[in-house]
Amino acid sequence: MRVIQFRQAIAEAMSEEMRRDEKVFLLGEEVAEYNGAYKASQGMLDEFGAKRVIDTPIAELGFAGIATGATMNGLKPIVEFMTFNFSLVAIDQIINSAAKMMQMSDGQFPMPMVFRGPTASAGQLGAQHSQAFESWYANCPGLKVVCPSNPYDAKGLLKASIRDNDPVIFMESEQMYGDKGEVPEGEYIIPIGVADVVREGSDVTLVSFGKIMKKVTEAADLLAEQGINAEVIDLRTVRPIDYDTVITSVKKTNRLVIVEEAWPLASLSSEIAFNVQKDAFDDMDAPVKRVCTADVPMAYAPNLVEEFMPKVSKIIEEVKSVMYVK
């Protein structure tokens, strides 16, 4: 099968949907003439022109609001944030407007729009460029939150998100844009809200999503060498969460470790742990464990970055602790 980069998968998904539906357009900082800060819209200005691939000034609140109004009046914008760290400037429009309009109008104004861009850390970028807000957005009814971990999923899920009739937060990573993966030539859609069991196993369930899946996969490989067969679930969507897949797996393995690149308090791992104790209490052979980032702002020094991030060694350690092996 053809192998392409994550950024190409994103550009292909947007381009295919824009060919399919005149109402879809892209706006954001540097998306047009610069071809995207991370080249995720490479070639799109040339194909679709300045009417549909629109460079904005640095005004996240304003252009998120304009996109929201355009959606109310029948268009289907894709709003690119250069990073979701900057989405905080726009969060009023996302939470108070886009996520509410359908409900406040009792169904008169559906909001088919996508807010997308990279989330979380990407190396030594310091505290303000390294945050993961998946759980913040996932907390808000009215939104859907999608977090792909590989090029194949990114394309199928982004196409589904663009076609979706509700506002979707679509979170990528600077550290995934260069990742290569198999992506077929033809069209395909991956439905929102369906997790992927990427590796079957019987000893322990590992649940994660997004970029940090890379570390989970690495940990699962190392555990396999030690005779521990982890079942690995990529949630792919964190609102809604595919609890059926998680619970089914936990009932099989009786053990769960959740890996999340985010601060621990009120995180998605907290939420998943709650649901697992509620629905699979009698099936559990050990407490649920999790590996999150440190509960501090990200720092710059390379060793502090390493200390902050979820580590493969820590994942392995937690798996062993729930299996009661050394």
């Binding site: 009417k51 904005t56 000034p57 304009i66 355009a70 109310m72 108070n96 109008s105 859907k144």
Partner: protein
């Protein structure tokens, strides 16, 4: 583009519309005290000429309107039945938002009324976005986007003015300067008081307008609408107006004097329009009384309709949050 006419019919319609809005708001105020209406309640009394003049200058069949949370009478002006507005205030299923919106969140897609927004200034980029879509779709519709004198101090307004200019959007930004952002006077919220001049920073056509006079309002809005329809972009108008009631029902209004309110009531837009009608002998006293009776009946019908309507079903809490079925967490 046809020039506006100011005929007998214009004035009679203004009188009837503005008086209906006034009486409707007065009734909601009374119902609020009776606790039939709850939540926050922001009344439009005193500002009616802005809406009457605006409506005269647009085509409500295609043009759009969006405003903040002082939003009961705008949808009525656009064509929504007062029954559905009153029902929304009562939280009834027959309200414009099915009882989910309340006072601050009136919506009517059918009548091009885009809300009803509770975050000060947030409706401004949304209004520009509505206009963006009309330009994108190559229609000649325009959007009237209202904001208060408090909203112009929000950053979103400035971001939006900038983008509306670079993208040449068919939107008319209308600041209803009623003197006070809740209890903070314009004088205390900025070191300048000519709000219209904010447009100058973006080289956007802008001007102050006598917001107590529907003729002045309609002329200014029409000029802006014509410009927008021709593809010549946005306009910013500062309507100098006044609200007689507090910011909301819970406002003790210690920030202003009764004399100040009385001064504005001398130039009350409804009284002024009636004076013009009488001077021109366009209506007899009986006809004026008949209009008042008709309005009272309309308001009464709205209240009866609201009273008799059912509350929304409990299950409706989970409806219309998403378009399709969604697995809500229900514990």
């Amino acid at each position: 583009m046809a020039k506006l006419k100011y005929t007998k019919e214009t004035y009679l319609k203004w009188y009837e519309d503005m008086l209906l809005w006034r009486k409707f708001e007065d009734k909601t105020s009374a119902l609020y005290i009776q606790q039939k209406i709850r939540g926050f309640l922001h009344l439009y009394n005193g500002q009616e000429a802005v809406l009457a003049g605006s409506i005269h200058a647009i085509d409500p069949k295609k043009d759009k309107m969006i405003t903040a949370y002082r939003d009961h009478v705008q949808p009525i002006a656009m064509g929504v039945s007062p029954n559905n507005i009153m029902a929304e205030l009562f939280g009834k299923a027959t309200g414009t938002s099915g009882g989910k919106g309340g006072s601050m969140h009136m919506f009517s897609k059918k009548y091009n009324f885009f809300g009803g927004h509770g975050i000060v200034g947030a409706q401004v980029p949304i209004g520009a976005g509505i206009a963006f879509a009309d330009k994108y779709n190559d229609t000649d519709a325009v959007t009237l986007c209202y904001m208060g004198d408090g909203a112009v101090r929000q950053g979103a307004i400035h971001e939006t003015f900038n983008m509306a200019m670079i993208w040449n959007l068919p939107v008319i930004f209308i600041c209803e300067n009623n003197g006070y952002a809740m209890g903070t006077s314009v004088e205390r919220s900025a070191n300048h008081t000519d709000i219209w001049k904010l447009g100058l920073s973006y080289e956007m056509p802008c001007s102050p307008v006598d917001g107590m006079d529907p003729v002045a309002v309609s002329k200014a809005v029409k000029e802006a609408v014509d410009r927008a329809r021709k593809g010549e972009g946005p306009t910013f108008l500062e309507m100098k107006t006044y609200r007689y009631k507090g910011h909301s029902m819970s406002d003790a209004q210690k920030y202003r004097t009764k004399d100040e309110i009385a001064e504005y009531q001398k130039i009350d837009p409804i009284a002024k329009v009636l004076e013009h009608i009488k001077k021109n002998k366009w209506a007899t006293d009986d006809e004026i009384q008949a209009t008042l009776d008709k309005i009272k009946a309309t308001v009464k019908e709205a209240v009866d309709f609201a009273e008799e309507s059912p509350f929304p079903a409990n299950e409706s809490l989970y409806k219309n949050v998403y378009v399709e079925e969604y697995p809500f967490i229900k514990e």
